[in-house]
C-alpha cells in the first residue's frame, strides 16, 4: 500500500498572461449573474429589438414579403441615420436597466466584505480591478448595442448594395462611438456609485435618481435662465446632444427643446470628459486596499 502525504507544495505550473487577468472578474461575475433566471430572461429580451430591426431591414428589400403583407415600401420606416439612432437609443435604454440591475453591487459587495485587500495583495493592480469590474458591464452592454448595431448596418449595406456602405459610413462610426460613450458613462457611474454607496437599494436608486434629478435640474435651469447650460447638466439631454452630433441630426427626439436650449456638441463632449474624470477621481479615493483613518 502506498500512502501519499499531502503536504504544502509550491506551484510550478504555467501562468496566464498578465494583460488578460482583468477578464477573470467578468468571467466569474457572469457565472453569478446568469444564475438568476430572471436576469437571463431579461438579457434574452434585449435581443428582441435587434431582431425586429433586422426584420424591418429585410422587409425593405423583399418585394414578395411586402406583397404578402400588403404593404408598400413607402409605409415602412426609412432606413437612414435616424433609424439607427433609434435602434441604439432603445438598446442603450435596455443597457441602462441592465446597469441598474447589476451595477450597484459590483464594488460595494467587495467593500462590504472587506474583499479589496484580497484582490490587491496579488499581482493585480487597482486599475485592473476597476477595469475588470467595468468590463462586466462593458461586455454585456456592447453585446446589445454596437455589436448588433454594426451587424444591422452590414446587413443593410449587403442588401442595399455597395454604394450605400460608402455613403453611410458615418452611421457605422456613430453607432460605434455613441455606444461606447454610453457604455463608458454607465459603467463608470455605476462602478463609482457602487464604490461609495454600500446599500444596494440606495445605489440603484442613486443611479436612477442621478438621471432623473440631473434631468429635472437641467430643464429647470434651461427654462429659468434661457440657456443651454442645463442641457449639459442633464445626463439624458447630454447623451442626446452627443448622439445628434454623431449622427449629424438635430433635436431628433422632439423634446420640445427651444432653440436656445440646444447645447453645442463640443460642450457636451467636454461635460462627458468632466464626468469621466470626476468618476475616476472618486474611484481612486475609494478603491484602496486599506482606508487610512487619521
Amino acid at each position: 500500500m502506498a500512502v501519499y502525504e499531502h503536504t504544502y507544495k509550491p506551484y510550478a505550473g504555467k501562468l496566464t498572461p498578465e494583460w488578460s487577468r482583468f477578464l477573470i472578474i467578468p468571467r466569474h461575475a457572469y457565472k453569478d449573474i446568469f444564475r438568476s433566471k430572471l436576469f437571463t430572461g431579461f438579457f434574452a429580451l434585449c435581443f428582441v429589438g435587434p431582431l425586429i430591426f433586422a426584420i424591418m431591414i429585410y422587409l425593405h428589400h423583399n418585394i414578395n414579403a411586402l406583397l404578402m403583407l400588403e404593404l408598400r415600401v413607402r409605409d415602412l420606416v426609412p432606413i437612414n441615420a435616424e433609424f439607427f439612432q433609434i435602434f441604439i437609443s432603445i438598446q442603450g435604454g435596455l443597457g441602462f436597466l441592465l446597469t441598474v440591475i447589476i451595477g450597484p453591487t459590483l464594488i460595494s459587495r467587495d467593500l462590504a466584505n472587506n474583499g479589496l485587500p484580497l484582490y490587491l495583495c496579488r499581482p493585480f493592480s487597482r486599475a485592473e480591478y476597476v477595469i475588470g469590474k467595468m468590463s462586466v458591464l462593458m461586455i454585456l452592454i456592447s453585446s446589445i448595442t454596437w455589436v448588433p448595431g454594426l451587424l444591422l448596418f452590414l446587413f443593410q449595406s449587403y442588401l442595399e448594395g455597395a454604394g450605400w456602405f460608402g455613403n453611410n459610413l458615418r452611421i457605422a462610426v456613430a453607432i460605434f462611438l455613441l455606444s461606447w460613450v454610453w457604455i463608458i458613462i454607465l459603467a463608470l457611474l455605476s462602478v463609482t456609485i457602487s464604490a461609495w454607496v454600500k446599500w444596494r437599494m440606495a445605489a440603484s436608486a442613486a443611479l436612477f435618481g442621478l438621471f432623473m434629478i440631473t434631468n429635472a435640474m437641467g430643464i429647470i435651469i434651461n427654462e429659468l435662465f434661457r440657456t443651454w447650460i442645463g442641457s449639459i447638466i442633464s445626463l439624458s439631454i447630454l447623451m442626446q446632444t452627443i448622439s445628434d452630433g454623431l449622427f449629424g441630426l438635430r433635436d431628433s427626439f422632439d423634446m420640445d427643446l427651444n432653440e436656445y436650449m440646444i447645447a453645442p456638441v463640443w460642450s457636451a463632449w467636454m461635460a462627458f470628459g468632466l464626468i469621466c474624470a470626476l468618476c475616476l477621481f472618486l474611484l481612486t479615493r475609494k478603491v484602496r486596499a486599506y482606508e487610512v483613518v487619521r
Binding site: 507544495k9 509550491p10 510550478a12 453591487t105 466584505n113 474583499g115 484580497l118 496579488r122 493585480f124 487619521r294
Partner: protein, 309 residues
Amino acid sequence: MDPVISLDGLGVKFGGRPILKDLRGELRGRAIGLLGPNGAGKTTLIHTLLGFHPASSGTARLFGRDIRTDAKSIRALVGYMPERDSFIADMTCVHFVRLMAELSGLPSDAALERAHEALFYVGLGEARYRKLGTYSLGMKQLAKFAQAIVHGPRLIFLDEPTNGLDPPARLRMLELVRQIRDSGHAHILISSHLLRDVEECCEEILIMKDGRIASYCNLEEERKANLKFLEIETRGDSDAFAEAVGTLGCEYALTGDHRIKVVMQDGIEIRDLYRLAASEGVQIRRLNYKRDSLEDIFLKAMEDSDGRL
C-alpha cells in the same frame, strides 16, 4: 541566499505622522513571529511589504526584490491572510479560493485543482461547497488561510491567524503553520497577540514598538541561554524537601504552597533533587526550567525600548 525580508531604513508616514521609523534588519527564519503592542505598526509593516502603503523613506526587499520597484512581482511570491473578516460575497468556498488563485495568475483548471488541494489541506471538508456567508468564524479563518496558500507562495503573511478561533480550531491552525514551516517550501510571518501561539510555531521573533524594532531574536537560542532556574511543585513534606535542597548548597525560595524555586549550582543535577525527593518521600509533581519564556522576552523588549511600562 537572499534574506527573506531585508529592511533598509524603511519608514512610512500617514498624513505626516510617522508610523514606521527607520526599520533595519534581515529576517531569515522559516517562521517569524511579529509581536508588539497595539499600534506598534505590525499591520502597517505587512501592508507596506505588500505595497499597500508607499514607503516614505528607505525601502525593503523581499527575496532581494525592492518593494518600491517590484511590487507586482513581489505580490506574485507572497500569500496574505488579513486580520479582518475578508471574503468575496455570495460565493462557495471553492469558487472563492479558485478565483483568488486565478488572480494570482493560475490558469482556470490549475486554479481549481489547487483550490481543492488547499482546502483539503486546511481541512475544510464538505463545507467547501457551501457559501462563505454561512461559515462560522473558524471556518472563515480556514478559508482565508486556504486562499493565502493556494498559489503556492514562498512567503506567507498571517495577520492574527488564531484570532477568534475556538480551542480545537486554534490547535489545528497552529499545526498547519508548523507543517508548512517544516515543509521548507515557504517562509511564514505571523503577527499575533497570543504569545503562546507564537511560541508554539515560530523560530524567530521580531518585536516592534512605536514603529521601531524593539528586539529581533532567535527563540531557541534565547531559551538555551538561561538554564539555571528550576521551578518545582511537590506533594508531601515540601518544607523538609526544601531544606534538604538547601543542604546541597543551592539557593531556593518557597514561592507558594508546595512550590519551590531553585537556583542550580554547577555540579548539581536534577537527579540529585530526585534522590532527595526519594529519601524524603516527596512527589515531584511538576518540574521545569524557568526559561526565558516568550513573555519574558517580550516584556524585556518593552522595557528596554523606553524604560517605562
